[in-house]
């Protein structure tokens, strides 16, 4: 599904990722944990194709294709979804219109026709219900005036509607209270299938109590410094990142 080999990334004159490698198989959930400034958000931005980063070495292969060669919208149409740490406001554009535009843009890219209006509404209603999002919220402009928790739920709503093959959750737990986190985690767990993979980026272990990963990687100073099973997250919760930071 996703193979990252020796990835080196620079932003401005600063090296941020310094030889990062890991391999994600279909159906797997991997967690990336690490201290602030380790390069977690850079990784999610580079995978989604945000401008402003220079790839100085390494490669990323997604479903056999060179991911780094593709435009962000191509990656999206091929099934890569990034749930943003800070979802962006788009004034005047209804959330439902935005969603429909995105779905149709992806379908067009794949050579499919536009979604039937009725099918769209049916799926939308069902998904809203499962995520406990009131219907009038999607009539409001995208993320405008939403609370932090509402924004994160809208990100998961979009993910559920777009049905990606690979979801990246960038600090989706930040700013969520425990109830909101449970709803978000349930939403993600409902999307887990043998084909769909997830990369969960988080600073804290608590989200991983609800979304149990197959593997946990510790990212420090631009590299994966340790990998292990879910128990590694527990260890980090107890000991903190101090050991890795001292090692730098």
């Amino acid at each position: 599904m996703l193979e990252i080999r020796n990835l080196h990334v620079r932003a401005g004159d600063k090296d941020i990722l310094k030889g990062l490698s890991f391999h994600l198989k279909p159906g797997e959930v991997h967690a990336i944990m690490g201290p602030n400034g380790a390069g977690k958000s850079t990784l999610s931005h580079v995978l989604a194709g945000r401008e402003g980063y220079e790839i100085t070495d390494g490669e990323v292969v997604f479903d056999g294709k060179d991911l780094l060669e593709m435009e962000p919208e191509e990656r999206a149409a091929l099934g890569l979804f990034l749930a943003f740490q800070y979802p962006v406001e788009i004034p005047g554009v209804q959330t439902s219109t935005f969603l429909k535009t995105a779905i149709n843009a992806q379908r067009k890219f794949r050579g499919e026709g536009e979604i039937e209006a009725l099918d769209f509404l049916k799926t939308l209603k069902k998904t809203l219900k499962s995520l406990n999002i009131p219907e009038d919220m999607i009539k409001r402009p995208v993320n405008v005036g939403f609370s932090g928790g509402e924004k994160k739920r809208i990100e998961i709503l979009q993910m559920a509607m777009l049905q990606p093959r690979f979801g990246i959750l960038d600090e989706t737990d930040s700013g969520l209270d425990i109830d909101a986190m449970r709803i978000v985690a349930d939403g993600i767990n409902a999307l887990r299938t043998p084909e769909r993979s997830f990369l969960v980026i988080t600073h804290y272990q608590r989200l991983l109590d609800y979304i149990v990963p197959d593997q946990v990687h510790v990212l420090a100073d631009g590299r994966i410094v340790e990998s292990g099973g879910p128990e590694l997250a527990k260890k980090l919760e107890a000991d903190g990142y101090a050991a890795y930071e001292r090692a730098q």
Binding site: G52, P72, E73, F81, V88, V93, T101, A102, A105
Partner: protein, 482 residues
């Protein structure tokens, strides 16, 4: 360059200004240039009464002495008025009695532009007057409107059939000497629409005029006059296009609206004149004087404009709020791209008591273009309880465009209430990346964000045209992101 890329680029260039084709049709033209003989020629062609000819001549003589308005933030070389033709008409298009007599080539032209004139194929409930260069070539649904008592016809026909109405109102809102461009229009105006809605009548359908400049080096000087008598209501929309040409062409129109007691006029414009190429060659000079008079108590005039075309736009649709409790509104979207320049806004003149005005202006600038909002809110001494709300928002795309806001406020009554809000923002990288991450390509994303930015204005357009206007907004911004 491979043939493939060439073809693709050609198709892209064509798509950028879809209305840029030319109709090959024989025309009757006045000799080039402007003098008293030309005015005589036009007046004779239209078989006008003496009073109108005299009025034109008076305007022409004044025009010769008037200076060009130079206060707008626009940069262009002086216009050589002798290089233009002031009258051009399709040879077969003069005075057709019915649609069946209209030259098929003309019908085809309007069909290509998405305005089928054959009534059965038309948008339900929209009557169209089509003006091709200097003459009106067809007006639809005339009979149905006549049943309701509504007069909707080319102004040259109104001069013949309703001379008293025309004489009573022409030049009362925009006097011939108002400004140099309006003065030129008064001297040489050729066609345009005339609307009269009698007392208490709600016009049963949307009225619309479609202006098309076809001939080379030809100016279009249309004149529109709309009167809503006591308690009447009418909604009117105009659309404009022209072929792509290397020369600049002049469009100097005048629109006058008169609303009596309790009457309402909604006037919407979708302006898509040829904007010139990306280096600023060619394009229409759009110098337009539009003004509405709320003559009566409780009268209501509302301007909505979507300005996407023209090399230069100089236009300030205004309201004179004379009647007590009358209302004036101005909703504007002005988009400039490439080398386009727009200086546009409104004037709200509060004369009556408890008059109300509302201005919402959205300026979007991309490429190397320049967009200016210029507006005046004037409260006269007797306008007790006058209120105005103004909101001017500018959106910049890229690093090489400019947006400016120049609001003038003159308040001579201490009991008035005025509010002004203004913002300038940029389409952020964050917004674009967010859209693209969801699969929406960059150009479509810009269209989406800009349409969101304009939403407050768009929702004032008649339903039938809102979708078209949204598409136009997206098309006019093509090529604005790398």
């Amino acid at each position: 360059m491979t043939t493939d890329t060439q073809t693709r680029e050609l198709v892209e260039a064509l798509r950028k200004y879809e209305a840029g084709f030319e109709t090959d049709i024989e025309s009757v033209k006045a000799p080039k240039g402007l003098n008293e003989e030309i005015i005589r020629f036009i007046s004779a062609k239209k078989k006008e009464p003496q009073w109108l000819f005299d009025w034109r001549l008076k305007a022409y003589r004044r025009w010769l002495k008037m200076p060009e308005p130079d206060w707008a933030k626009l940069d262009f070389s002086p216009i050589d008025y002798q290089e233009s033709y002031y009258y051009a008409a399709p040879k077969t298009g003069e005075a057709p009695k019915s649609l069946d007599e209209v030259d098929p080539k003309l019908l085809e032209t309007y069909e290509k532009l998405g305005i089928p004139l054959k009534e059965q194929a038309m948008l339900a409930g929209v009557a169209v007057d089509a003006v091709f260069d200097s003459v009106s070539v067809a007006t639809t649904f005339k009979d149905k409107l006549a049943e309701a008592g509504v007069i909707f016809c080319p102004i040259s026909e109104a001069v013949q059939n309703h001379p008293d109405l025309v004489r009573k109102y022409l030049g009362t809102v925009v006097p011939f000497a108002d400004n140099k461009h309006a003065c030129l229009n008064s001297a040489v105006f050729t066609d345009g629409s005339f609307v009269y809605v009698p007392p208490g009548v709600r016009c049963p359908m949307e009225l619309s005029t479609y202006f098309r400049i076809n001939e080379m080096n030809t100016g279009q000087f249309e004149r529109t006059l709309i009167i809503a008598d006591k308690g009447a209501y009418v909604s009117y929309l105009e659309g404009c296009t022209a072929p792509m040409r290397d020369e600049n062409q002049l469009h100097a129109a005048v629109v006058e609206l008169i609303a009596h007691d309790d009457a309402e006029i909604k006037y919407s414009t979708v302006q898509n004149w040829y904007p010139g190429d990306e280096n600023g060659k060619g394009g229409i000079y759009n110098f337009v004087t539009k003004r509405g008079l709320c003559e009566g108590r409780n009268a209501h005039i509302s301007w909505t404009q979507i300005e996407t075309g023209s090399a230069i736009t100089w236009k300030y649709p205004s309201c004179i709020l004379k009647g007590d409790c009358s209302t004036g509104e101005f909703y504007s979207v002005a988009i400039t791209n490439g080398r386009q320049q727009a200086d546009t806004g409104t004037k709200m003149i509060h004369i009556g008591k408890n008059t109300n005005s509302r201005i919402i202006s959205k300026g979007i600038a991309a490429g190397r273009s320049d967009s200016t909002y210029r507006g005046l809110v004037k409260i006269m001494p007797n306008a007790d309880g006058a209120r105005n709300f103004t909101q001017c928002d500018s959106l910049l795309i890229g690093e090489t465009c400019g947006a400016h806001t120049v609001p003038y406020i003159e308040c001579k009554n201490p009991k008035a209430n005025l509010e002004h809000e203004a913002t300038t923002s940029r389409i952020s990288e964050d917004q674009l990346f967010y859209c693209r991450q969801r699969g929406i390509p960059a150009e479509e994303a810009v269209g989406l964000v800009v349409n969101g930015f304009c939403r407050e204005v768009m929702q004032h357009l008649p339903m039938e045209f809102a979708v078209e206007a949204q598409k136009l907004v997206s098309i006019s911004l093509e090529g604005s992101v790398g």
